[in-house]
């Protein structure tokens, strides 16, 4: 029984991490119809920059704050310099982001090399914590991840539902031309949203990297997870990203615990089932 609880918690916390990664991805797509296939590289970039900051200053919190900002800047530059000129051409945008992801991944490999980088976590979130139920100890850091995911989730909800910017974003997702016709500077909104997406990716990179380690190959892996989560949850829907992340996290952990060899296939099978039954995703709009 205690194993089951632990595995469920693992699933929830992993889902939290996936939500962090996928939320930026889905936002950017929902508003700008850009599939940012460089999202994984932004994640990896965040992980490495965060490590460098943490290593140089000895302060992990500083890394968590600064690295996502750095990645956000990179994201905005990417969007303004490259994507803006080919706006509206989905395939070209996808190809550009693929090109960027290849270049960024290779440059990071050149700079940081092939080995793993470990974060040094502050002691309060490092190590086991007693949960009180069934006498279980559980890593404090994973609880922390879940906490951050909840905070970010609520923050995004608040942003989208209760602020003017959020209103503009939601309107833009529904009908971009109309928004532009109402006199709102759509380009500015795009830049902000892309920067936000990159920020979330960078944050996920620091948080995820602190959990396990930062290494080459994580970019492709987390891009794939983002895709799966967003396909299941529905493109453009932040709520969908949450739901998808939860499902994927739980399914993959149960799979790993009980059928380890083929666990990854179960995750994909889930995705295929959702596609067959409801192609736009669980909470997505019919396109």
């Amino acid at each position: 029984m205690s194993e089951f609880i632990t595995v469920t918690l693992n699933g929830l916390t992993l889902g939290g991490l996936y939500f962090l990664v996928a939320s930026g991805f889905t936002l950017v797509f929902g508003l700008m119809r850009v599939v940012n296939l460089a999202h994984g590289s932004l994640y990896l970039l965040g992980g490495y920059i965060g490590w460098s900051i943490g290593n140089a200053t000895g302060n992990w919190v500083l890394a968590v704050i600064l690295a996502p900002l750095g990645v956000a800047v990179v994201g905005v530059i990417l969007q303004q310099a490259l994507l803006r000129r080919i706006q509206g051409q989905d395939l070209r945008e996808a190809l550009v982001t693929i090109g960027v992801s290849i270049v960024v991944a290779d440059l990071l490999l050149a700079q940081y090399g092939g080995q793993n980088y470990e974060y040094t976590l502050p002691d309060i979130i490092n190590g086991p914590v007693n949960l009180g139920i069934a006498n279980l100890t559980y890593p404090a850091y994973r609880v922390f991840i879940l906490g951050i995911a909840l905070v970010i989730g609520i923050g995004l909800w608040f942003l989208l539902r209760r602020t003017r910017l959020g209103m503009i974003i939601r309107a833009g997702i529904d009908d971009r031309d109309m928004v532009s016709a109402m006199g709102i500077n759509v380009q500015m909104v795009f830049a902000i949203v892309f920067g936000l997406g990159a920020l979330l990716a960078g944050l996920a990179g620091v948080i995820g990297g602190s959990n396990l380690s930062v290494r080459p190959g994580d970019d492709g892996l987390y891009l794939l997870y983002s895709l799966i989560v967003v396909i299941i949850g529905g493109m453009g829907s932040v709520g969908g990203a949450a739901l998808g992340a939860l499902l994927v996290g739980l399914v993959s952990q149960y799979g790993l615990a009980y059928i380890p060899t083929y666990s990854i296939l179960i995750t994909f099978a889930l995705m295929i089932v959702v596609l067959a039954v409801r192609p736009q995703g669980l909470l997505g709009r019919r396109v």
């Binding site: 550009v96 960027v100 529904d174 060899t261």
Partner: protein
């Protein structure tokens, strides 16, 4: 015969002669590593260009279908010791079947969704191949796959293999060029341009797409047989994310609307990856930058595709009121009387077409 036409024909003859005599003047390494690899990778890229440029479906599952036939060939000929033709036929059947299954799942989605779904399907097969110990032998893959000796043709000889691959590549290329002008091909292009309109004309849009995807699966499967014989083995490393993206890069670099682009892109890619590692470790950056350059500045065949894809998407997404971009930047072939272009540049370009008669207002039964 204009000078332009003469020049084109001379060029064509020069290329053909070059390809035919390549093994006579090039070193064996060039023939094997560059020549043969470019050819079978080009065949996979052909299948992608067929789907993307003429069908409006950018599929990232082509290398997976390559792997499907390769794996079945390897399993049957090495693990079960069956004769080579059993392996080949089974491999081709399997890749075609798998393509049909993928198509049935994915074909209802369009544009960027389609890309992502095929990517996910490709990764699914990759992880399965990487994990399974019963058939695919996991990460190690299957070694010892040998090209057969057919009568007096010893296919393990590189020169013989080169000519066989060249022949097959030529046949596939010419076959596809013929196909896109056939009713099936024209209908497919029509579906690419405007699926709803085709549907209202009575075409079975989904069935058409599934059929096109399945055919592309067969083509990729052919390349899979060749590639597996070339390597003498198959492993999950042949169908991972990197190789999947490589085919896309090849097709884009070459030009997504042009079949020739498949081989040009493949040759360029193989040359860069083979030689770049001699003087820099950053050849991946080079490839990425090349892709960026093409996507940003030299869309060429890419522009046509992206425009057509946007057409497809804008019909069905929430961007109402967006004016469709004209499909073709080329002037249509002038025709007598009242005429209407059915499909796009690929037809208009070929000067061998002549519209001989037009009969307006005639009732016609749709195929």
């Amino acid at each position: 015969m204009t000078i332009l036409r003469v020049a084109r024909i001379a060029c064509l003859i020069a290329i053909v002669l070059f390809l035919l005599t390549f093994p006579l003047f090039a070193s064996q390494f060039l023939v094997v590593q560059i020549g043969i690899q470019s050819l079978f990778l080009g065949i996979v890229a052909l299948s992608l260009i067929f789907l993307a440029g003429y069908g409006g479906m950018v599929s990232l599952a082509q290398m997976t279908l390559y792997g499907a036939s390769g794996y079945l060939l390897a399993i049957l000929t090495v693990t079960y010791n069956l004769p080579w033709f059993v392996g080949v036929i089974a491999g081709l059947l399997f890749s075609t079947l798998l393509a049909a299954i993928f198509a049935l799942i994915s074909v209802r989605s369009q544009g960027i969704y389609f890309i992502m779904i095929t990517l996910a399907e490709a990764m699914l097969v990759f992880y399965y191949a990487d994990q399974d110990r019963i058939f695919t032998n996991g990460h190690t893959g299957i070694n010892g796959v040998q090209a057969p000796t057919v009568g007096s043709l010893v296919l393990t000889d590189p020169t013989t293999f080169y000519y066989m691959t060249l022949l097959i590549a030529a046949l596939v290329y010419l076959g596809l060029r013929y196909l896109v002008r056939s009713p099936f091909g024209l209908a497919l292009q029509g579906i690419r341009d405007n699926a709803q309109r085709m549907q209202s004309l009575g075409f079975y849009v989904y069935a058409h797409r599934v059929a096109a995807f399945t055919l592309a699966g067969l083509i990729a499967g052919i390349a899979g047989i060749l590639g597996t014989w070339y390597d003498g083995a198959i492993s999950p490393g042949s169908i991972d994310l990197t190789r999947t993206i490589n085919i896309l890069v090849i097709a884009v670099l070459g030009g997504l609307s042009y079949f020739e682009g498949a081989f040009i892109g493949a040759t360029f890619f193989v040359v860069v990856t083979t030689y770049a590692s001699s003087f820099t470790d950053r050849f991946n950056t080079l490839i990425g930058l090349a892709l960026l350059a093409v996507a940003l500045f030299f869309p060429d065949g890419l522009v046509g595709l992206s425009r057509k894809t946007v057409q497809l998407i804008t019909r069905t997404t929430v961007w109402r009121g967006r004016v469709p971009i004209p499909l073709s930047s080329h002037k249509p072939v002038p025709a007598p009387g009242n005429s209407r272009t059915v499909a796009s540049d690929s037809v208009a370009e070929d000067e061998q077409f002549m519209i001989v008669s037009v009969k307006p207002e005639e009732e016609e039964k749709q195929p």
